[in-house]
Amino acid sequence: MINCESRSVVVIGGGPAGLSAAIAAFDAGAKDVLVLERDTRLGGILNQCIHNGFGLTLFKSELTGPEYAARLIDMASERGIECRLNTTVVSVAPDKTITCVSEEGVFSITADAIVLTCGCRERPRGAIGIAGARCAGVYTAGTAQKLVNIMGYMAGRECVILGSGDIGLIMARRMTLQGAKVRAVLEIMPRASGLMRNVVQCLNDYDIPLMTSHTVVDVLSQGGRVSGVVAAKVDNDMRPIAGSEFLLPCDTLLLSVGLIPETELAREAGIGLHRVTGGAEVDDTLMSNIDGIFCAGNMLHVHDLADYACLESEVAGKRAAEYAINGGVTRGAFTSVECGDGIRYAVPMKILSSGSGSITFTARPSAEYALGRICIEADGEEIYSKREAGIRPATMLRYVLNSAQSDKLRSASRICIKVRE
């Protein structure tokens, strides 16, 4: 160890979530906030998301990813928040000692409070078991996005995209605009898994076919590069239907088959993970089971919108600052949030009875409803309800409860969130 410094709040990850958490922590009174970022610049994945449509909620304007990142970076810099780049955190101990590696060597930092905003990673080819050649030309959509938007390489000339997540849809448009041909987007589910607006503005606008209930069953190669994929229709159990196979000639296969919260540091720190989100399990202050370690953004659960990841991280940053300034908090009893009909998961997972202030809920629906009512119940009594049209698993729901509603949850012994038709 070269040295050991100490800080009130340390934020791990300098993407949109981390910058928002750091800004909120500073504004809540923590004056020696430190952001640790492994990349050569701040902004995280926003730097490669050059498409527009970011910031409608937070900045009331339509920005590209780099512009959105620049605004957050400026806000952090105006406050004089220290951000250390090229610094990889290798471990976080439950006593809040952080071990890092940078060009200066290995060093450790002790923090009064930590916010983990490590983002997420893409599900790779190995995780979905596609048969066929192990040749060049198979990329995750995010890798292709980095090749094209950051490094300036065309990832391919003729593409097939497997998976209709937002990144897959956005990459279909990107490859087309950059001069490539996108033959089709295949989706194993009977519906698109990304936002409807992306189906419209990324596929329909460019006449790119979306083939739902289809998957890739074989990857063909010639000279070490993809030469085509064999696609097939799938049945209700998502198994390929024999005889339905057809060839799609292409030189590139892009995979957009899901995102997984990046929880390596969290697991090592002993943070409990949630079986559905794959991310951390947190209470309504976004604190994990380890005192003083907070989690937010895509490492907590995968968001559809950067705005929502930032708003969530503001809560974590503020609560981390309070924790640091008050020298800790005593967490008493809590009630777990149950997910009822139509809800796959909800964040937070626990409500502390000792807390105060407003609670924000985010939830992922498990089914489609043309029209539904989202209800939050405390001991069977409906304390919040909102009518929603077009509820779909692809669109995250977000509700900010007022203090009175939040207090009712705090005194409840049973809390449930559900969709009523």
Binding site: H51, N52, L56, T64, N149, R197, V200, G390
Partner: protein
């Protein structure tokens, strides 16, 4: 006619029905949705962005975008013209890359590329 709104992530399903001399719009969550749906039937407009190569910069690519929506039918042509450009650093976010690509919309830089150190 059915239109999926792309103004915000809600993605409202909007129906536009011919009514007398005008149109009735239903299903829009806000007024911007009504404008969007009517425009979608007459002249669809889009913002879009591109990644363009840059020589001599601290990064190899600059992100560019339209400063205001352009006619959807013009996108392919604008993209083709932009990809043929030879750009060099420095470029500042907001710099005009091509002026007046359609109407009053310019193609502007969305990221900053500084001169490579040592040049």
């Amino acid at each position: 006619m059915e239109v999926v709104c792309t103004v915000c992530p809600r993605g409202c399903n909007i129906s536009v029905i011919s009514e007398g001399e005008g149109y009735a719009v239903q299903g829009n969550g806000c007024m911007r949705g009504k404008d969007y749906a009517l425009r979608e039937l007459t002249m669809p407009m889009r913002n879009f962005s591109l990644a363009l190569s840059v020589a001599g910069g601290d990064t190899d690519v600059v992100a560019v975008r339209t400063s205001a929506p352009v006619r959807r039918e013009c996108i392919a042509e604008i993209a083709l013209a932009a990809r043929a450009l030879t750009l060099s650093a420095p470029i500042k976010a907001g710099d005009v890359i091509i002026s007046k690509v359609d109407g009053d919309s310019d193609l502007i830089a969305a990221s900053t590329v500084n001169l490579k150190e040592g040049t």
